[in-house]
Symmetry: C2
Subunit: 243 residues, 2 copies
């Protein structure tokens, strides 16, 4: 991991861009921290530049609660090389959504499964590097989408001890079986009127999770309309489980 830039935000949060091999990422640490901070990995749908305003807002909120946060670019997004197969799957998905057709499971599989396969080891490598920094301790949480990445990480990565999952993206049916293997505490956010998401599938996925402590928070509004109080509740979940 190599830091490539560093700036202090107005609330004292230290923002550092880094690269991990070819993968760009950002690390935010609280302005004042006497002990190593717990870490929250910030998931997103890809495209760090486009997502930056929302990511930094989540990072500032977490820093105020004493958490470090970090994110990396997804394979095939932002400045990273495109995959022809993923671009094709994304175009097919967009076409189905614009036509108002039900989305074929085969399209979801083509789009999400290779992404999960490639992204999850990258997040694990980022975790190795981040946890080697003296200012970062444990425990570790995962927050956000792509929910399929969050599910796989929750199953294969024992260092992640709690997750806030955004039920706002498509999930291959084969991952419902994986969801049953998740046992860490979960806090699932569902936007009730999310135009690009299947509410019934999201409820079935919530039902499938194996965790003894799992909470679903459903709120009104579309994909990006998560209300402030819902963000606060997710932050409290992490405070309960990572502090």
């Amino acid at each position: 991991m190599r830091f490539t830039s560093e700036q202090r935000l107005d609330d004292g949060v230290l923002e550092r861009e880094f690269t991990l091999g070819e993968i760009p990422g950002i690390l935010w640490t609280p302005g004042s921290a006497s002990t190593p901070a717990p870490l929250i990995l910030l998931g997103h749908p890809g495209g760090l530049h486009k997502m930056y305003p929302r990511l930094v807002a989540r990072a500032r909120h977490s820093a105020a609660d004493g958490f470090a946060t970090a994110t990396i670019e997804l394979p095939g997004s932002g400045d990273r090389p495109r995959s022809a197969a993923a671009e094709q799957a994304r175009a097919d998905l967009r076409r189905a959504l614009e036509a108002g057709e039900p989305v074929d499971e085969e399209i979801v599989d083509r789009l999400v499964l290779p992404l999960v396969e490639k992204a999850v080891p990258e997040w694990q490598a980022a975790l190795d590097a981040l946890l080697s920094l003296p200012e970062i301790g444990g425990p570790v949480g995962y927050s956000g989408g792509v929910i399929a990445i969050g599910i796989r990480l929750a199953v294969v990565e024992p260092r992640i001890s709690a997750a806030v999952l955004f039920a706002g993206s498509f999930v291959p049916r084969t991952m419902f079986e994986e969801a049953r293997q998740v046992t860490i505490p979960l806090h699932v956010l569902l936007q009730w009127d999310d135009e690009g998401n299947d509410r019934q599938a999201a409820l079935e996925l919530f039902d499938a999770f194996g965790s003894k402590e799992k909470t679903l928070h459903a709120n009104m509004g579309g994909h990006t309309g998560v209300p402030q109080f819902a963000g606060d509740a997710a932050a409290q979940f992490f405070t309960r489980h990572l502090s």
Copy 2:
């Protein structure tokens, strides 16, 4: 309204039993309050003696947040005269549940509709009396079940400005239309594995509510297993809307 007993609880909360005509009730007010306290009406399934431990716990929590709370006995419950028709409907419901049969809508109608018709004016009369006390101000919230009573109150009683509804009881289908007329902020609690409740119907009811701000919090466990953190989140909802 006539106060019949008064005691100071160990956390300073003042608990007063009262009667409103023939209806028994309990009022809890915070130990220290310089201004008139906002009021939360505590709904319950009937039987004040049986429900007392859970009611007083909710009252203490609310008092710590600066709220007065009050509840009254439901028609046909506790020390109030039984209704033969309601007893019959309750027996029919129990029989269906014990036999593992789907509950006939006709039974739900017979059980819940007369209860709503009778209880709601009583809660409104209690509200008149409570709001005339100098130590109680507004705004007013409703918290709990029977959810059908909460729905009707939210529609007909303009003094109620926010509600926490427990999706843990049966709702006549005709009340779904009433749910569409609800516009106050709602916080709906759903116990995902509630043995005596129909999860799908609860989700449909949540969908039906007309409120622009409505949140569903689903948690694991049965009817009485609402986790501590879910109670805290409901309390925060009232702090946002009634303070």
